[in-house]
Symmetry: D2
Subunit: 200 residues, 4 copies
């Protein structure tokens, strides 16, 4: 098991995808042990680590990060999680292209990620998924439009709301205040091989 104390501590803050959203990415794409993932940007590395904990031991997550300091932090965190053989932090600019081919999932979590969807399309195997995470509706729309222009089918965009139920002797009730919105998750699917043929 991933240590949830560390996970919770490091996954706080506006910059990090929360467990509830990371969970949607893996579950709604069907990610499993053995799969190959490209992630950008790494940030503190926690989405890469979460995805790595699922695709391990034979799968792989390559996480692009152009900032030196973030890349160093992400690498440290991946080692801490015991996933240094599975999660690779690559100091590179994802806007310049993705070197990998035939990957199962590309996750894009940064501003203007719509400008990287064509790279994601090239990296994915037929039937593979590209998932974008965006706080604003306008970003979602730009991402879907760029994705469709690149050849993707837009599967769905969702938001995930998690609310605690307080369970107490004196009475049960939902929590009073909390997180009402983090971001939208957009799922683009590269068409299966037969659907792609006419374009080749």
């Amino acid at each position: 098991m991933l240590d949830q104390k560390i996970w919770r501590k490091l996954s706080r803050g506006p910059q990090v995808i929360l467990p509830k959203d990371a969970a949607m990415i893996s579950a709604l794409t069907g990610l499993q042990s053995g799969d190959t993932v490209v992630d950008a940007g790494a940030g503190s590395g926690w989405l890469a680590i979460y995805l790595g904990s699922i695709v391990a031991p034979s799968g792989k997550v390559v996480s692009y990060e152009w900032r030196e300091d973030f890349a160093a932090l992400a690498e440290k965190n991946a080692k801490k999680a015991g996933l240094e053989g599975v999660v690779e932090i690559r100091k590179a600019d994802v806007f310049a292209g993705i070197a990998e081919r035939g990957v199962d999932l590309v996750t894009l979590d940064f501003a203007e990620s719509d400008k990287a969807v064509a790279h994601a399309f090239a990296a994915l195997k037929p039937g593979g998924w590209c998932v974008g995470y965006h706080p604003n509706v306008e970003q979602v729309k730009a991402f879907v439009e760029a994705g469709e222009a690149a050849g993707f089918a837009h599967d769905q965009t969702v938001e995930c709301m998690v609310r605690e139920l307080l369970v107490r002797k004196q009475g049960c009730r939902p929590q009073t205040t909390g997180i009402m919105h983090t971001g939208y998750l957009t799922f683009l699917k590269k068409p299966a091989a037969e659907a792609l043929k006419p374009k080749e």
Copy 2:
């Protein structure tokens, strides 16, 4: 990747934990490749298959199911998903006890699951998780009380709401109608080894 067409088709209906809820179970406990899980009851087997796709290839999911027909269906589905070496469907009554020891996660999804939490406690390793899924608040309360009586700490109970955002040229808006509630997920944690010692 798990085939999402099959997943979505089979995961419909009131009897099956939806992907959004299965996702919370794995992500909030930190389940990863190599972990051991006990699940009850199997039903159509899809929660067991989802968890199996994460813990594969060296991990294991044992799913208890006392109904002959459900057990046969679940076994067929596990084979279809290519996880017959990871997911074991066991035709047995979980109320009579859980044979496994040192497991990382026990998931309980059936009416009166509060009567099985002591068995879950015995099966788990220190620090392991027991997660219950219940549609009604009263069931949650009974489950938490039985869990605390068995030695568990109640970590949290949550509900997960997923809403689609329709992204269209003419305008973006959340979906008009949809699923508003499936069930509550209750997370019980077995105390770490040092905390358990005084009781031994």
Copy 3:
């Protein structure tokens, strides 16, 4: 118009029904100018004032409050809102009974309000509404059971969630954090006259 600055200032805090919930009470019962309301307890008087602003000028709201200090505060606030002829704060214990008869709406907002539903039933005209506000599910259940025992039909129980949409040049998104739960609103309806006859 009621001054929203005062309204918002005074309607903050856990003890006061928020505008969103007050709004559900009036709109879902169809409260209108000329109606008669009994409210308990008054607290700071703001639910009484809100309801009074709708039933004015010929309607009436009698608000029961047994605490001397709260009754004084509520009376001061009603005068501030210019509704002293419409909203009457009565220093009395609602558990001892409701003097009014033929009223359109009774609102009950206090712990153990289930013990006052029989008084509400006696005060209401046939077809009238009794609305309870409760943070906890157990309170709702006790209220519904007591209401049905007193002769009411349970129309519905709802919770109302309001989320702000941030509208900005750089992008639109729901607010990040906020109020996730205040209380449940339970609507009990006294049967129409003809339905009541067999019991007379």
Copy 4:
């Protein structure tokens, strides 16, 4: 009391503002008995009737509707509700201007309502409210921008979600499926007199 059976029957369908949203309009603006309202378009007349039931007997609601058939229906419904002296259905095009001055509230519920906000500004008294109802985020943004250009301050945009809690002997739980989104409510406020002076 407004008859809730009629209300509920007529307020179904995508074209009509639901009670939950009408409730937000009146409660968050502080609408009360004696106020003056301009509404457009009338549609079946139910928002006008709801608002009329609050501002009665001395207040007034003028509801603009350019379609002959809708105007006739709305007038019939207003009579049925006993509000023919309070609610006036005016067969006129709101894009051509609003004749009234010094009104407390203008409600705009139609596509491209951003093109009528300047008329709303002229009709309102200082401190008055203009509320728009829009299903899509893009419409909200255009409405806010047009409102600010016309001199309004954007107070807030909200969405209101109402979920039923099923209260049953066998257990309490939120409803399984239902309405997840109707529209966004945008509240624009005309600045108070002193703030407007420099512009005169």
